[in-house]
């Protein structure tokens, strides 16, 4: 189920809220879990089983590790079991097709045998919930979090529908207390509603409209330089408004249920360097990778060379996490490259001498080139697209730009560079924001009636 659908908005959400606020406190987490299974299983009920496997394995691992610790042990085998199951599921469902295709591509030129196999269907959001369940077991193993108090709470943590399929990645130790004890107030609910509305507006009125241009640019014939830049810019806007819109909606729904989720975006297109960008973009993923991959690899504690290797590895795997395609790996490598360059120059960019506005502009352009890699279907397509951006493309096509695209682009630019982020608005929730937001939210609802179903970009990851 997607948030931007009639079934969710007019059936699921009212019903859920009605039940949630009717049942006693001790049942609330269970109600969240139950509705989350319906939400997740709406399109593929069988994939709920996978989530249950993850839930049961990690719940058991957490209990056993705690039990082992009280008897003087560490419970390492249980940590390994969790890693094996979670990464095994992720590896099979997300990377099996990619692995076999890559092997076939390697052996085919030498006349080697081709592996025929039935394509594995990717369960939506598996990357998000496996990371969440892993974080629980690892935190319990490290002792940074205690074991969960009840299985119902853990079911709720793993399956919680607001952030289940597209984040933010909520680590167990950040939400452990809230799972057991959280407050439900009308002010919280009101702010949750505003966040949800802001997210839906971002998604429906900006991301989806500009997405048409991005699709035409990346899936169509070659473009002239100007149009190639417009297409890349359209995708740069689309991915931010789509993903941050989803995060806003998740945060908003969380607040309606009494939860405070982590901030996931902090004006990333105002970054002054790529290092700064990664402090502001998909914060829940970057901090996860830092704490569960970069630091365990040694972080920056083992000399410069090792730091660069660790950074590269972290960003490569971060790229691969987004999808089983060489373009994502290349995108990770591209980001890793700039992080290394900046680390060599003392964590600041090589253009740090520019005024702040200039640094933001250069970083923004570097980010755009990254998104070209990210959006292209193949590395070859990405190279052709970059060539087109420099006026060296084979074709000189145009894009079907319509007035509505310009309106969405100007609105998007204003939100990006003139206004505070949703979470900052949310703190004070001034009427100067809340009242106009209602109008555009209602417009978004009508627009949703008008357009057909458009899924979220981050579902595929």
């Amino acid at each position: 189920m997607v948030f931007a659908s009639g079934i969710f908005l007019y059936f699921f959400l009212p019903l859920f809220l009605a039940v949630y606020y009717t049942v006693p406190r001790r049942w609330k987490s269970f109600v969240i879990a139950l509705f989350s299974y319906v939400f997740y299983g709406w399109w593929r009920p069988d994939f709920v089983l996978l989530m249950w496997i993850s839930t049961v394995v990690d719940y058991t691992a957490g209990q056993r590790i705690t039990a082992a610790r009280t008897s003087g042990g560490k419970g390492k085998p249980w940590l390994w079991l969790s890693l094996l199951v979670n990464l095994g599921l992720l590896g099979y469902f997300k990377y099996f097709n990619f692995g076999v295709d890559t092997l076939n591509a390697i052996f085919a030129p030498f006349g080697g045998p081709t592996l025929d196999f039935a394509k594995v269907v990717l369960p939506v959001g598996i990357s998000f919930y496996t990371f969440q369940t892993l974080s629980y077991t690892i935190d319990v193993y490290r002792g940074t979090a205690g074991k969960v108090k009840s299985f119902g709470d853990f079911m709720c943590y793993v399956a919680m529908f607001p952030q289940l399929v597209a984040g933010p990645i909520v680590r167990y130790n950040t939400i452990a207390d809230q799972l057991h004890e959280r407050t439900h107030t009308r002010e919280k609910f009101y702010r949750g509603m505003l966040a949800f509305q802001a997210g839906l507006v971002k998604k429906v009125l900006i991301a989806d409209i500009l997405g048409e241009l991005a699709d035409a640019a990346f899936d169509g014939p070659g473009l002239s330089a100007g149009y190639a830049w417009i297409g890349a810019l359209a995708y740069t806007f689309q991915i931010y408004f789509d993903f941050s819109g989803y995060s806003d909606m998740a945060i908003g729904l969380g607040l309606m249920m009494g939860f405070r989720f982590p901030v996931n975006f902090d004006q990333p297109y105002r970054s002054i360097s790529i290092t700064d960008f990664w402090r502001r973009w998909h914060i829940s993923l970057s901090s996860f990778l830092r704490d569960y991959l970069y630091i365990p690899l040694g972080g920056n504690r083992k000399g410069s060379l090792r730091t660069y290797v660790n950074l590269s590895l972290t960003m490569l795997l971060g790229g691969l996490w987004h999808g089983a395609n060489w373009t994502f790996i290349a995108w990770g490598a591209y980001q890793g490259f700039w992080l290394i360059v900046e680390r060599r120059s003392g964590k600041s960019s090589f253009y740090a001498f520019l005024p702040r506005l200039g640094q933001i502009a250069v970083t923004f352009v570097l980010v755009i080139f990254g998104w070209v890699l990210f959006r292209s279907n193949t590395i070859g397509d990405a190279m052709h697209y970059v060539q087109a951006m420099f006026g060296m493309g084979w074709d000189h096509g145009t894009l079907p730009i319509r007035p509505i695209h310009l309106v969405a682009a100007f609105a998007g630019a204003a939100v990006l560079w003139l206004f505070p982020t949703t979470q900052r608005w949310l703190y004070k929730a001034p009427l100067a924001w809340a009242l106009p937001l209602q109008l555009v939210f209602w417009l978004a609802l009508i627009h949703l009636h008008y357009v057909s179903h458009v899924p979220f970009l981050y579902f595929q990851f």
């Binding site: 659908s5 009212p14 009920p45 407050t183 002010e187 009101y190 405070r260 319509r402």
Partner: protein, 629 residues
């Protein structure tokens, strides 16, 4: 990578009382919107559009196959909710109107071009890989229909209507491509199959801005008029000014409906101002006394069969004017090709045969035949014509017995549940150019139930119900070219089970054997690619409409490899080479030479590859050019 933080919130009850009331108000309003939508949609659902025909079948299938396990059931529920949502229906209309008038938005199905010219998106966004297949598939069927009509004494002229986006390509918004070549290929394929075709594309292009209505998928009266003129010139049937039927006059207002089917498709109300000035004046044909031109009757020698482009008899009246005689119009808007033709046959045959049939077919139908094959493969109307109106002159094409792989024992009662293969003919026994040049005649009878005969060949399946009480049926075979799949005939049951007796099957072709012109054969001569035999015709022989070349080959010989028929060109054009693949002993070559209609045919060459150990001294034993009438 910095520390993550949870979303920050102020202390509870930090909101001033006044703002808190506004907040509760907004919560209440939004709650009412969500719940209100739910209640209104539940209490006052919209009756969804009821699919008909193929769409209904597909919808029924989709519903029957919907499962929870793969998301199809969920998807169906969401689809149904959208279809029945009252709120959606009531809000979408004014919103669409606002989007269109404010931003020039055409929605998911309509594209807004320059100067407000509207286009239907799915007629522009044609899958690149399939457009030729559609043209080929349609061409072979039209060739078969055309041949059948020719044999009945009716000249058929096909007028493919180019897509609006091609004629009005200059009005497309940036980033959209007309793909003119798709429409050119339709003409090319039709002509290659000997279908008499009028090129309306080049006729309409000089009048691009005026040929199509701005907010409609259809052509304007100006477009119809130019098309009628082009048809008159191409056929040579254009009458001089004084012999024309009725008078042409300008009409001050664009009164010809429909004017705005694209605005309808968007859900936008059509306004008079949406028709620009350059689409006025419109045209109409009237009698000298000012009365409207009478629509043609059953006595009319010319019939126009078509779709919505021929609706209201307006195109027909222009044709009548320029061709100087009454034209009767059979138009079925939205129907596939041949539907109007089949209606005409039902009404007029056999007593009141027209002399000329003008078939108007929109190119988007032709092109989409390549990727909507399930819709096209049935061809119910074409099949009806083939099955129910046999041509008067037929020639038997006797084939060696081993050509037939008869799965059914002839003369015995066959029990079929669902369907069963009854005949297979491998490639190499009958080499032909398709387009109905070879027909399959089946004799038999239905003992119990109802059956349908499916003839599968490369260009699609022709399915025709066996008429009740009939003892024989004759259906064209479309293509059996080198490398093609064997011709397969399947008995499909229309009732749960059926019993059928197949008594006889044979190949036939439509043609006047008594008027056939024999060709003189040369002996085998060495050729750079093997061996060659030439067939000579008298110098004054020209190819008649749908003239057929029938070549018998030696039966006591090994299989001839890589056989090709070469028709040497008498103009600057390259020779026409027809590859036929390998030919088995006694095989027939049957070629439709309709594409060369009117051209001299001094010589035909048959070339085959030599075999060192088993040379074939003579391949061709007899050859003749067979006219249809």
């Amino acid at each position: 990578m910095d520390d993550h933080t949870l979303i920050a919130l102020p202390q509870e009850k930090s909101m001033p009382a006044g703002r808190r009331w506004v907040a509760w108000g907004l919560l209440a309003i939004n709650g009412a919107i969500l719940l209100g939508t739910l209640v209104v949609d539940w209490a006052f659902p919209v009756t969804p559009p009821q699919p008909v025909g193929i769409e209904k079948t597909q919808d029924d299938e989709r519903r029957a196959q919907a499962k929870w396990s793969d998301g199809s059931r969920a998807s169906l529920i969401e689809h149904d909710y959208r279809q029945t949502s009252r709120v959606r229906k009531e809000l979408s209309k004014p919103y669409t109107e606002w989007l269109f008038r404010t931003f020039g938005e055409g929605g998911s199905s309509v594209l807004v071009g320059k100067d407000g010219m509207l286009f239907l998106r799915d007629r522009i966004e044609v899958p690149e890989t399939h457009f030729r297949i559609g043209a080929q598939r349609t061409a072979v069927i039209y060739a078969a229909v055309s041949r059948r009509l020719e044999a009945l004494g009716i000249r058929m002229v096909v007028a493919p209507v180019p897509r609006k986006s091609v004629v009005c390509a200059d009005w497309l918004p940036p980033g959209w491509h007309a793909n003119r070549q798709y429409d050119e290929i339709v003409l090319e394929e039709f002509e290659r199959r000997g279908v008499f075709t009028v090129d309306l594309l080049t006729a309409l292009e000089p009048h691009a801005g005026e040929a199509f209505l701005r907010m409609d998928t259809h052509w304007s009266t100006q477009g119809m008029r130019e098309s009628a003129i082009a048809l008159g010139h191409k056929t040579g049937w254009m009458k001089p000014e004084e012999e024309r039927y009725g008078m042409l006059r300008e009409v001050p207002a664009p009164t010809t409906a429909p004017l705005g089917d694209l605005t309808l498709a968007m859900g936008v109300e059509f306004r008079e101002s949406d028709a620009p000035k350059y689409q006025r004046p419109m045209w109409e044909v009237i009698l000298p006394n000012g009365q409207p031109l009478p629509q043609g009757d059953l006595q009319a020698n010319i019939v126009l069969c078509g779709t919505s482009f021929s609706q209201h008899g307006t195109f027909g009246s222009f044709l009548a004017h320029y061709l100087g005689q009454s034209v009767q119009t059979y138009s079925i808007p939205g129907a596939p090709p041949y539907a109007a033709l089949a209606t005409m046959f039902r009404e007029r045959l056999p007593e009141r045969l027209p002399h000329i049939v003008i078939e108007e077919v929109p190119n988007h139908h032709v092109i989409s035949a390549g990727y909507h094959s399930e819709r096209w493969a049935v061809n119910p109307f074409a099949a009806e014509i083939f099955a129910q109106y046999p041509a008067p002159h037929q020639m038997l094409l006797p084939m060696p017995k081993q050509a037939w792989q008869t799965s059914a024992e002839l003369g015995t009662e066959l029990h079929a549940v669902g369907g069963r293969v009854i005949l297979d003919v491998d490639s190499g026994w009958v080499a032909h150019t398709g387009g109905g040049v070879v027909e399959l005649r089946l004799q038999g009878q239905v003992v119990e139930g109802e059956v349908r005969i499916d003839v599968h060949s490369d260009q699609g399946t022709l399915s025709a119900p066996w008429p009740a009480g009939a003892t024989e049926m004759q259906l064209p075979v479309f293509t059996q070219t080198p490398g093609s799949r064997p011709l397969r005939v399947v008995l499909a049951t229309l009732t749960p089970e059926a019993r059928f007796v197949l008594e006889h099957a044979e190949f036939r072709m439509i043609g006047r054997e008594d008027l056939a012109l024999e060709g003189l054969l040369t002996d085998r001569i060495e050729h750079e690619q093997g061996s060659l035999q030439a067939i000579h015709f008298a110098p004054d022989v020209t190819v008649p409409a749908h003239g057929t070349l029938v070549v018998d080959t030696e039966s006591l010989r090994p299989t001839a490899k890589q056989v090709r028929v070469i028709l040497p060109s008498t103009t600057d054009e390259p020779d026409w080479v027809i590859p036929l693949g390998d030919l088995r002993p006694g095989a027939k070559i049957v070629l439709d030479l309709g594409a060369l209609h009117g051209q001299p045919l001094p010589q035909v060459q048959v070339v085959w590859e030599g075999q060192k150990n088993q040379p074939i001294p003579v391949l061709v034993t007899d050859a003749r050019l067979v006219p249809l009438r």
